[in-house]
Symmetry: C2
Subunit: 469 residues, 2 copies
């Protein structure tokens, strides 16, 4: 033991020395970052430089390989250093990231104005205006009065898990979903958060196609992972090529997020491209996170991972859109059992469980096919009518949505500032829209939610036209 | 520009070189950790060594100060290195952490058994068995049928925020809670998670008094922060001394969690000690996270941070216990506006909002004083009767709970294994309890939830006595 004591002590001293050397080098690196920041600030150069970052990533990974060091440890440390370096660089100049006007920011602002009594045409919030099915209300209320008001297991009540399995089998012909692959979540958003937080961690990256709902990026940023954004344009009909997906994958990439029908573009990826991208993900060992929340609003055949099951996958979905149950906050995820267990752990530590009376309502919802079909039909009519109205506006161009519940328009003016436009539209015309900058680098675009009666949509579009004239 | 180009290039090359040197040293450090692991494994020494870790922490902080490096960057990198070193050490030996039998694990096991039709006496789950107030059920149901079923603002509906402000003023005489200080959360657990995730991040530490509900530690572990556990014993009546709190604070400590009445011990800290600890936190610049979820079940005067407001604070609470609304998943937090904004951001990115119809129920709950008083009265009777029963068992010793909804007993046998006992009790006697190991290093203790009618509690205690005899 005494010998071991001396041996341990020697080793520990060496560890302490090495730790101090590491810290000294980190300080040196931050100093260098500050000097880079001074140069950039002097010459008005941007802080971010993807090319430099990527070269560093490649070098770190190579170094890890040569040293036999776990690559994820190397990329995590690099990520910590890069974040700190950017902070140090920013402190040298005045370059500040502009705060995004996300749909939730617009909603908060509009709610403020509505408090003053002013009536607005609300085209910002991404939710259908339909009533939830009556049978769901009844089921929730009945469950309440039957005291389904206690804790339940984290995964979800067995009745809902079982109903979801039947639903997936019936709707997608996917009969393989085992109990331990499903998790009932408080909304699709939590399913998405726990999905990205399960596939990636600090120092990893995930491919996200833009324009897109910001929640994927927000989740990745929260856990310290990087969203590699793959830009699409109106010219390529808001769809990335398989080649561009392949090129976006870095050595630290763990997943790709797909979501069709897409929010905000209404795009439905063609099945061939979808299948190719799944193949690319499989080859690269990535998880495909497929957010299929809008699948009830699809007006051409819509791909699903259930028909092209990747080796690693997480499906996220929700009762929010198809059933118009946004305010119930209930969704679900499907993933291989081991992945699902990790997602469940996150849910358990943050949420315990989704209220049982709400889950009882969700069970009932799965049988409400008629209401879902009606919602879908009405939305199709709105897409047709609203697109026709939007096409009358000379200053705009758009791809007719193939699904989802939005219209996504682009100003022909290359200098159009949709955030400023949205604020002016709200103040002068009382119409709320979501500026394109909330969905990626799209200052020329904006999103209109079609979760309003057609009269409001038509009136809203006309006011947009007036503002643009 | 060309000059700047060359200058930038030189600096970047130096950054890349320094990065590689850092990675090389990290690899060296991991190699040293492996060798330490071999020595420890050979001589059966434990992997964790608090003293060594703390010395390293001190050295890193000193080094940061000397180098002018942000201390949080240093401690974060140290935390990453320590975690990886432990992993490397573990890989050398067979030392494995035993999985904890938490209340949620017991609940899952018991639910499995109940599925087979066997009736159990369930003393594991920490929830009252009372019905939620009828007025709450009515309010939720009415809100449902009035279509309060859409998204709402993340913070919580203005009616609930306002009702909470009135409630805090009336109940605690605390009239200063501003709107932007409150956040409505999906349960107390989410309030707790967002609290610890807001005050700490990777490389930080937070003082947690044990035995305790495991959620604080789980949240800290999830974000990569360290829980400094402050052990209390039956001898000191499950209360830490101010001196021990002071001694537990490290240079990277950001907060201390207090929670009285305490789960599982039922302890209520005396007000003098509470105030002293708040003073210590203030002096050290720490946030006091005070989880006051059991405050309606207090049978002696219970301290609250609202009467001793620390400079930095987060109050978390919930409708789960006082109103017996566990399954509604609705709680709240109160913190300075800036802290609250950061907590709200976490909620927004994961949850969007708590269902409005549930929030309408919570508004109503705040007026249900009679039901809360009755629940509290019944719980007092159960504490009295159950404690009397437990005291009849020679093999046990306990402090009579001063609040909360549990009894926490300790076996006199110093070698008692509560996890094994709990499993045997479940199998042989059909009674579920929560082993002490779920609340810290307490293998001699177990927790009984008093959320059952007295007959079940008495029957449960007698079966425990039989098993121990």
């Amino acid at each position: 033991m005494e010998q071991a004591g001396q041996e341990l002590q020697d080793l520990r001293e060496e560890v302490a020395e090495t730790t101090k050397e590491i810290i000294t080098l980190v300080a040196k690196r931050i100093e260098l970052a500050k000097r880079i920041g001074q140069v950039k600030s002097r010459d008005s150069l941007p802080i971010d430089n993807e090319r430099v970052e990527e070269a560093l990533l490649q070098e770190v990974i190579l170094e890890c390989k040569q040293l036999g060091l776990d690559q994820r440890l190397g990329t995590k440390i690099l990520s910590t250093l890069l974040a700190e370096s950017k902070k140090a660089q920013r402190a040298q100049g005045s370059a500040k990231a502009q705060p995004l006007i996300t749909p939730m920011v617009m909603m908060a602002k509009a709610t403020e104005i509505e408090k003053t009594g002013r009536k607005l045409i609300r085209l910002d919030v991404g939710e259908p205006d339909f009533h939830p099915p009556k049978a769901v209300l009844d089921a929730v209320s009945e469950a309440l009065y039957s005291y389904k008001t206690y804790y339940t297991v984290g995964r979800g009540i067995p009745e809902l898990i079982s109903a979801l399995r039947n639903y997936l089998a019936k709707k997608y012909g996917y009969a393989d979903a085992a109990e331990n692959q499903l998790v009932v979540t408080p909304g699709g958003r939590f399913a998405v958060y726990s999905a990205v937080a399960t596939v990636a961690s600090e120092g990893d990256s995930v491919v996200v196609i833009e324009p897109n709902w910001p929640a994927y990026k927000e989740g990745l940023e929260y856990i310290g992972a990087k969203a590699i954004t793959l830009r699409t344009t109106l010219e390529d009909e808001w769809q990335p090529s398989p080649e561009s997906v392949k090129a976006a994958i870095k050595p630290n990439t763990k997943a790709i997020v797909l979501s069709y029908p897409a929010n905000p573009t209404g795009k439905i990826m063609d099945k061939v491209t979808f299948k190719e991208i799944v193949g690319i993900a499989d080859d690269a060992g990535l998880t495909v996170v497929s957010d299929e929340i809008y699948n009830d609003y699809a007006y051409k055949p819509c791909p699903t991972i259930l028909a092209n099951l990747p080796k690693k996958y997480i499906l996220t979905s929700s009762f929010s859109k198809g059933w118009s149950m946004t305010g119930f906050r209930v969704g679900y995820s499907l993933a291989p059992a081991e992945t699902s267990a990790r997602m469940l752990k996150i849910l358990g530590l943050m949420i315990t469980c989704v209220p049982e009376f709400i889950q009882r309502g969700a069970v009932k919802a799965l049988g409400c096919e008629e209401e879902v079909s009606r919602n879908s039909r009405v939305m199709k009519e709105r897409i047709d009518a609203t697109t026709a109205e939007l096409k009358k506006i000379d200053a705009l161009e758009l791809l007719k949505p193939e699904g989802a519940i939005y219209a996504w328009a682009q100003a022909k003016d290359p200098k159009f500032d949709s955030a400023a436009f949205a604020m002016e539209l709200l103040e002068k015309k009382g119409v709320t829209i979501s500026p394109g900058t909330g969905f990626g680098d799209y200052p020329r675009c904006f999103r209109m939610s079609l979760g309003q009666p057609q009269e409001s949509l038509t009136a809203g579009v006309r006011k947009i036209g007036e503002m643009l004239a």
